[in-house]
């Protein structure tokens, strides 16, 4: 399969690989996909007191496009608010990486991972406000 230079770059030098403390109150974790389907993405975001994403980490089991899609969104997420993060569309990811049609699902999965991480963080924030 012929990949774009951007996909190859993210595959060879993935950005922000790693894990954040999933139990921390200011960390949201999204895990999407299934091993049997060949893709599992784990995306984590950490917000500061102002509600801005200050760190993002990922781990991905999947093809080169899946690795590149998740690596790219960790770069995009930093500096965004949760609402801005939730607006990231798979089409923008696919366009930036020049994904071939058969790999569009990788960008969809990355969008799903962002939404899952944001939802996880928001549910934690609601929970902590109720507790307070």
């Amino acid at each position: 399969m012929a990949y774009s230079d951007k996909v190859l770059d993210h595959y060879e030098n993935p950005r922000n690989v790693g894990s954040l403390d999933k139990d921390a109150a200011n960390v949201g974790t999204g895990m999407v996909g299934a091993p049997a389907c060949g893709d599992v993405m784990k995306l984590q975001i950490q917000v500061n007191d102002a509600g801005i994403i200050e760190d993002a980490k990922f781990k991905t089991y999947g093809c080169g496009s899946a690795i590149a899609s998740s690596s790219l969104v960790t770069e995009w997420l930093k500096g965004k608010t949760l609402d801005q993060a939730a607006e990231i569309k798979n089409s923008a990811i696919a366009e930036e990486l020049a994904l071939p049609p058969v790999k569009i699902h990788c960008s969809v999965l990355a969008e799903d991972a962002i939404k899952a991480a944001v939802a996880d963080l928001k549910s934690k924030q609601v929970g902590s406000k109720e507790a307070a």
């Binding site: 399969m1 595959y11 993935p14 690989v17 894990s19 895990m31 999407v32 996909g33 299934a34 091993p35 049997a36 389907c37 060949g38 893709d39 599992v40 993405m41 784990k42 781990k59 991905t60 089991y61 999947g62 093809c63 080169g64 899946a66 690795i67 058969v102 699902h105 999965l109 799903d112």
Partner: protein, 405 residues
Amino acid sequence: MSDRAPIYLDYSATTPVDPRVAEKMIPFITEHFGNPASRSHPYGWTAEKAVENAREEVAKLVNADPREIVWTSGATESNNLAIKGAANFYAASKGKHIITVATEHKAVIDAVRELERQGFEATYLVPEPNGLVDLDKFKAAIRPETVLASVMLVNNEIGVIQDITAIGNVCRANNIIFHVDAAQATGKVVIDLETLPVDLMSFCAHKTYGPKGIGALYVRRKPRIRIEAQMHGGGHERGMRSGTLATHQIVGMGEAFRIAREEMAAENERIRMLRDRLLNGLMDIEETYINGDLDHRVPHNLNISFNFVEGESLIMAVKDIAVSSGSACTSASLEPSYVLRALGRSDELAHSSIRFSIGRFTTQADVDYTIELLKNKIGKLRELSPLWEMFKDGVDLSKVQWAAH
């Protein structure tokens, strides 16, 4: 590194033509171009003599009579000719049931499927998890109307060697024609058709350092096995396979098989040493699984699954070596190997498998490079893998509720 050609470790896909073979072939393209069927002039006589010499070399490697060797275009054609030819010839007297194995080459499976479309019934035996056929299960599949059985000698993906003698004896006792696909076996295991209870055997040249596009079918003379021709024309090859003989290809196959006969004992020792080195190096990596029995196996093949690493990214990671993957990466999806699935391997493990096949021109340096590359890349991909992280944290991945997509 990536600027040079990848290290070739895919000898089970095809082998380079041995330079000694190529040298023998060339005069039969240029000066000795005659048609071996031409009886009226020396051009034809020279070509015919070369063809018959080659037939003798092929027969010698497998201890057969040269008159039992029929030239074909390769193992796919040999398999089709044997299976369709014998099934159709004997169906009227015996019946219309065929036994084969789920891990056979597609040229066997699809030929049997075609016969099913024509009204035959077929049993596709599932091998044991080690890839070998259980003899009792084979016996249980036999019916009074079983006309033909087809079992390969050496498997192309996992290299396991089936017990052809035992299966053949059962076939003899039940009056079943027995075909064996030996495309992956020549030059790797000793084949003695004088003693083997086999009626039909398929060969090809290009897995044994000969050219592509040439093969042969062994058709037993005592007792005589009859097959219906699939290619009609000038009645070449005693009517079993018409078509002008490709003299240069045939000369190449003969020379390749002569070299195999003379050198296989020493060559296999060297290859076993390299295989063991590769095996020991790769088994240092955690969570690796060998596919197929290790004892009943040709030394040329090593098929290993690397857990928690996705198949396509694994292929990308090992682009500096030319290997074959358990995942056929088509444009739309990854299809796990049907052979590994038949052994009961999960989709994930089937996807993340690599077939390393070693051959005549593989060096120890090639093997050492491969071990280092794999250690490196598997480590890197696992650092990226959330599944590896969960495994290391003691999470039982089979108990996780995944959201299928």
